[in-house]
Subunit: 350 residues, 3 copies
């Protein structure tokens, strides 16, 4: 609201005891205790992202809506912003319009590929150690190689986000395009040298990052295809599907392939696949997954890390907003490490 | 609320399903796409400040009110706090009382001059490239020279803010005074030397910064006068007016003069003036402006930058809270640069 | 809320104009003007912590509740996060369950000792210069020696918090246990050397920090005992009581002893005691306190600082949520400094 010269005298008018409807506050806390066998550390930490968000929808008439969403991310065990260097609104900061044409938003948020793929991942896209989203679901790919070190790997800043309507109730197309603006990257040597790096510090991207995903959903079956190119011109494509033989059982799988040839001279290809399931049983949900990530040339170069992961988890619903969880994973990153990871905790939405 | 020993047992009592009236959440998202001709960069960015704020008014009886306001500022395209180094509550953090005597608040916020002048500026004080507030409206002056590099230029921290009532419906006086407390400034050499700077790092101000503005508003006419002295004893005075020949048309102009003599040995004077208009036409608002900033001695020293700016803009209202905008500006900073800047975007209040 | 593929089309359903009951926003602003006689600085600052918080309670049925609380802390005079290096949710970030068994929460917050002791301190635990909580109430002890420099001194991160029910309406037990996780501490030489410090940078704690407090409250009388061991194995115990001869008068006192023997080779003991009162008179509250902090061996080593403090304060209630305050303190830290400190300001809860 723009202030008038009489704003102070009238300020009382803004604070009437009515429900404020222009913004909704929401969030998630997820905290638990975990143990990792190779380091022998018992930790208090998280499984899901912890969020504090603000969003709203305004009806503009004629089927048109304005919408916005701002989301803070934090670590509940230490109270800090994620990685301490990530943006305040690490979850997203977007504003836009929705209508018969679909939805168009500006700002920062998950790319089309990253957002779509979470529906085909057995840990629902959570950054859990037992989950697959941060590693195998993306074949080790990062959407944002040219921001500060420690940044998140699945978003575009300075972007336009388009989501088509769900056409015929079946098909949806999503597209994200970002500018080439510099965003404080550290030096990336790439195919250059230390003296002449391929990507100097805080430089503009050579290409516009973009991301496309398409989904087809019909009854118990859904499939997606996605393609993305990031600011250092790494290409990733990914396909996946889920099938619900009965409504409570969701079987899913995906396959993805990353090509870093533009910036990585040796072994630029990484492939990964995973299979998973979600099974609603009584007041709970069983999660299970198995997958592999295989970089290029791993057969000839045993030093290159090949990853295998098997995970099992259970969410016990105390209410529609709150559940207790337990999960365990066995991760083999040959030849580097093999470990088990167990966690138990509580997840609360508001 | 102070917690009692039984606080935990009673916590349930705090969460009844009633409208909470002690605080109002508000905000603004403004994101768009812009292009600047000299750098050839296409960017996603902002025109207006992006805000997330919390404010409240409490009726204390007998015409007395308590009031507070906290406002976060951020960049929607990257999700970060402004400049990453500014305070969390960059917009303001103030608390105080309002009554027949006027309003008195403590904390941090826009100075009297800075806040008053926004009503006489054709871009409503927005930090838009096409606007005048950040540069010509203040003749290049900064209210806060002694905080960290990258800080905002129009606020006092550690201050007392007084606003008189609107006397006779016509006249209002505003006064801001700040302490001399140090606030992490980098070294400012000023009239000193590198070995003995005039303002060492993190030093106290030699004078109390203060700011006075007075407005006279009668029907279609309003005028202001303002005077400010900052922590390095730079003086600025400014006068301006607006006139509404018809209710939908606001013609405005201002003139300001900055004197940095206390800390700048050469060419300490800067003058600026601007003219502008706001014209409500149908569902939209036309903005236009023209102005010049002329530092001292510019005729004798062609290397000193003299600025000319012409801007045109249009806001198209989709609702009282949401508009689309487009603007363009031509800025000549002779001899340094000449460029055009265009932007189009969406502005949403909640 | 997990997003479905149709989330965008349905987003309108989330923004109905009803009172949102899953989260309550609350906060405190406290700003005033102070003067300290030894430095001769007049400052705008705070007496109480300034807060912006979000909390909620969800009824899960059968007497079980889920609860969460997130609290931002800031400085109202400069708008920054406390010390600029503290976590965003410096106040607390906790989630948990409450039932007949008591309350169990995970995350970061005040330790059992720190939280209990605030009820026996005449400035209600406020970090006021005139208060006793930050120094004499804890005999100079810090709960968190192994986080970044500038961190707060009274919380555990990575912890489990248990509070028993109030048994028989009289007795309550509180327990906090933290993991040994590293949390970015700077080097602590301790009983080691600069080359081989006892606690290297960012190292794990040698012991689990824990904190126990128990309170007994019967009518006008209440007493507590507490014991805490921090991450560098410093031990602190503390006892205190209050008595209300009439309901409006609360007389309190406490005694505490800190032993840093594990990490401090010389004079590891510090003792402190304080007496105080709170007296509700008419629309106000009188606060008074007197106390001493005496490190080990102070008689033999005059250079070791011994602290005496006398304070007087008055809160004048404008409403149940808003008061004006004034206080003064005389603090002697022999041989280092003696000063008086005066402040006056406003405190507003929302």
């Amino acid at each position: 609201m723009k202030k008038s010269l009489l704003a102070l005298a009238l300020m009382g008018a803004f604070s009437v005891a009515q429900a404020q409807s222009s913004v909704t506050i929401y969030g998630t806390l997820d905290a638990g205790v975990s143990r990792r066998t190779d380091t022998d550390v018992t930790a208090v930490g998280k499984r899901d992202n912890n969020k504090l968000g603000f969003r709203g929808v305004e009806d503009l008439g004629s089927g048109l809506k304005a919408l916005f969403q701002l989301e803070i991310r934090y670590e509940p065990d230490t109270g800090v912003i994620e990685s301490t260097v990530r943006p305040l609104f690490q979850g997203q900061s977007r504003v836009g319009l929705q209508g018969d044409f679909g939805t168009i938003r500006l700002g920062r948020g998950l790319t089309a590929f990253q957002e779509t793929s979470t529906f085909y991942e057995p840990w629902s896209g959570m950054p859990a150690v037992a989950g697959y989203q941060t590693d195998l679901q993306v074949a080790g790919y990062t959407s944002d190689p040219m921001s500060v070190a420690g940044n998140s790997l699945n978003r575009f800043s300075n972007a336009v986000f388009y989501n088509s309507p769900v056409i015929g109730g079946i098909f949806q197309l999503n597209l994200t395009v970002a500018t080439k603006e510099a965003n404080n990257n550290p030096v990336i040597i790439g195919r250059g040298t230390a003296a002449a790096p391929q990507f100097p510090a805080n430089s503009m991207a050579p290409v516009n990052p973009y991301s496309i995903s398409a989904t087809v959903t019909q009854g118990p079956f859904s499939a997606y295809g996605a393609y993305e190119r990031n600011a250092v011109s790494t290409k990733l494509w990914s396909v996946g599907a889920y099938f619900k033989p009965i409504p409570d059982l969701k079987l899913m799988g995906s396959y993805q392939r990353q090509d870093q040839d533009y910036s990585v001279p040796l072994n630029p290809i990484t492939k990964a696949w995973l299979l998973g399931l979600n099974y609603n049983v009584g007041p709970g949900l069983i999660r299970a997954g198995f997958g592999r990530k295989t970089p290029d040339n791993v057969l000839n170069s045993p030093a290159i890390a090949k990853t295998k992961q098997f995970s099992l988890g259970y969410d016990y619903n105390l209410s529609p907003r709150t559940y207790l969880y337990v999960d365990g994973t066995r991760k083999k990153i040959t030849p580097a490490a093999t470990f088990n990871f167990y966690s138990v905790g509580i997840h609360h939405n508001f």
